[in-house]
């Protein structure tokens, strides 16, 4: 990692990427910053509003502040629940993927399929699937006497969204772990067999340590993705019932595009973005440190 030659001419190779990403990230971001410190009287006349939008946002007693803090808490709960289910389940599935033969390809391809469905079609699939009148899941649950209604009852709505996310993304964790498992040399397993190690100690002493790298990628990608979730819940529950499943993105889009409340939306965008940025920084430093340790 550290013996790479230093050459500032490498900037020429990076330039095209820089131009494209600057165009689609910096300019829009400046617009947001602009809105976040101004107020509008309509008709494109803006005036300076200082930090008022931000003060509202951080004050839970105001309407917007309360909405923001509740959405943030909901989002954090959602991300934790989803991670707690998907990571162990993903590892379990990865351990069970066949090792060789035609079945490997077939299993991998069918596992990946849910991830290639457009997100609002994923929403549609589950919206239909969970309906008590025409959906298999909803009808089955009501049939065995479990009260289930994802548009009326917050618990049903939450479980539908969590199950949907598990259905949608567990395969990603499994594929990552599968890649990690495949990188373990056979000699390790042979050594374990000679030592008479059981299945569990093989897992704890050989497989889990080797999976640490991919698991970090998995945890953080899943965290980010679930923290930004928008399309699927917006189709299935629309943030309801009430505001029970209204996560940060959903609330933000409601404020920005629904109520066209630009100041509040912009302030919220910036804070939201800053939170993800901080988490991303933690992710990045962990990754590079691991890289450094590996090459050392």
């Amino acid at each position: 990692m550290n013996d790479k030659p230093i050459s500032n001419r490498a900037w020429f190779l990076v330039a095209p990427v820089l131009v494209f990403v600057l165009f689609s990230s910096l300019i829009p971001m400046m617009t947001v910053v602009n809105y976040s410190v101004q107020d509008s009287m309509g008709q494109n006349s803006f005036f300076w509003n200082g930090s008022e939008w931000f003060q509202h946002l951080f004050d839970p007693t105001t309407d917007i502040g309360g909405r923001f803090s509740r959405a943030l808490v909901r989002n954090l709960i959602f991300s934790s629940v989803v991670l707690l289910i998907e990571i162990p389940l993903g590892i379990l599935v990865a351990l069970c993927i066949p090792k060789r033969g035609w079945a490997v390809g077939a299993v991998l391809v069918s596992m990946t399929l849910p991830m290639l469905i457009p997100w609002n079609v994923v929403g549609t699939i589950w919206q239909i699937f969970a309906r008590a009148d025409i959906g298999l899941l909803g009808a089955a649950l009501t049939g065995v006497g479990i009260p289930f209604n994802d548009t009326q009852d917050p618990l049903s709505a939450w479980s539908t969204i969590v199950v949907m996310d598990v259905w949608h993304w567990t395969s990603m964790v499994a594929l990552l772990c599968y890649a990690g498992l495949k990188a373990i040399p056979d000699a390790y397993y042979q050594a374990a067999r000679i030592d008479g190690a059981g299945r569990w100690s093989v897992f704890v002493n050989i497989e889990l340590p080797k999976l640490r790298r991919v698991l970090i990628i998995a945890v953080l990608l899943r965290f980010m993705e679930s923290f930004m979730i928008y399309t699927e819940p917006s189709v299935v529950t629309g943030g309801g019932p009430g505001e029970a499943t209204s996560f940060l993105s959903l609330d933000l889009v409601k404020i920005a595009l629904g109520q066209v409340d630009l100041g509040n939306a912009a302030a919220m965008s910036l804070v939201y973005n800053l939170i993800t940025l901080t988490l991303c920084w933690i992710f990045f430093t962990t990754m590079t440190q691991l890289d450094a340790r590996k090459s050392a």
Partner: protein, 264 residues
């Protein structure tokens, strides 16, 4: 044996909602709303015929495919040299630049919906497939750089040096020798660009109104005052799965490595 059972069960659970959608797409609306049936008792392809004969529907499908294609080509092309720079050289601000690129990958699209609307209206690209293709570069370019960098770092640097000694100029070396060496990585990067551009909806629908409307936005036509056209919605949903199923076949041997971003 337990392993087979677990994987079989998992795949079954994955398949159930998809089975239900496919099942529904072949039923007429009377059958859908009147009773739960596990296979279409009066199978019909009317919904598919409807989609393939109505220009608004198949036009939407072509729109989606064209911005996905444009985005994939742009992202991979410009990411190639950048990934090479990151994997082979140290330069002023390289770590910061890389982090900044990644941070765009983590930015919630909801944050960008409103400013993108303004930006692309201002430059006159609003409601074209180019607007969506460029907007998706926001997260696909960093992703492509990241994946390609992982794959390129797996190629020993001696190859670059040998080629230089043999008198290859940099562009010739890059195209003739290096690109074929990381062909797998390029395939995987293209697959991921395809995937994230195909599944992303918030930006795609915000940036288009009429002419460049993506397929999934056309799907909202099935909600009407007269009630939902469930069969049509299901048929449209089934069709959106096909492109993904096709492209995944081409990268099936490298998917796992790709998800680990070429870093295993």
């Amino acid at each position: 044996m337990t392993r087979r059972l677990v994987i079989g069960l998992y795949l079954l659970v994955l398949a159930l909602p998809i089975y239900w959608l496919i099942n529904m797409s072949f039923k007429d609306n009377v059958e859908i709303t009147s009773a739960l049936t596990f296979w279409p008792h009066r199978p019909t392809v009317e919904h598919y015929v409807h989609i393939f004969t109505d220009p608004a529907w198949y036009g939407g499908f072509l729109n989606s495919l064209s911005y996905v294609f444009l985005n994939t080509v742009i992202s991979v092309t410009i990411a190639l040299p950048a990934a090479y720079a990151f994997s082979r050289y140290r330069f002023l601000g390289d770590k910061h630049l890389f982090f900044w690129l990644l941070s765009n990958l983590m930015a919630p699209p909801a944050v960008y919906a409103m400013p993108f609307f303004n930006l692309y209206s201002a430059v006159g690209l609003f409601d074209t497939v180019w607007a969506v293709a460029l907007a998706h570069c926001l997260f696909n370019v960093p992703l492509a750089v990241w994946i390609l960098e992982g794959f390129m770092s797996g190629v020993p640097r001696e190859i670059d040096e040998t080629a230089a000694l043999d008198g290859y100029s940099f562009p010739r070396f890059f195209v003739r020798i290096f690109v074929p060496l990381i062909a797998n990585g390029i395939g995987v990067a293209a697959f991921f660009c395809f995937m994230f551009s195909w599944v992303e909806q918030l930006l795609a629908t915000t940036l288009t109104t009429v002419d460049a409307k993506p397929f999934v936005a056309v799907m909202t036509r099935t909600y009407s005052a007269a009630g939902m056209d469930w069969g049509l919605l299901a048929a449209a949903g089934v069709l959106t799965m096909i492109p993904g199923a096709v492209v995944i076949w081409f990268v099936r041997n490298n998917i796992a490595k790709g998800f680990a971003l070429g870093r295993v």
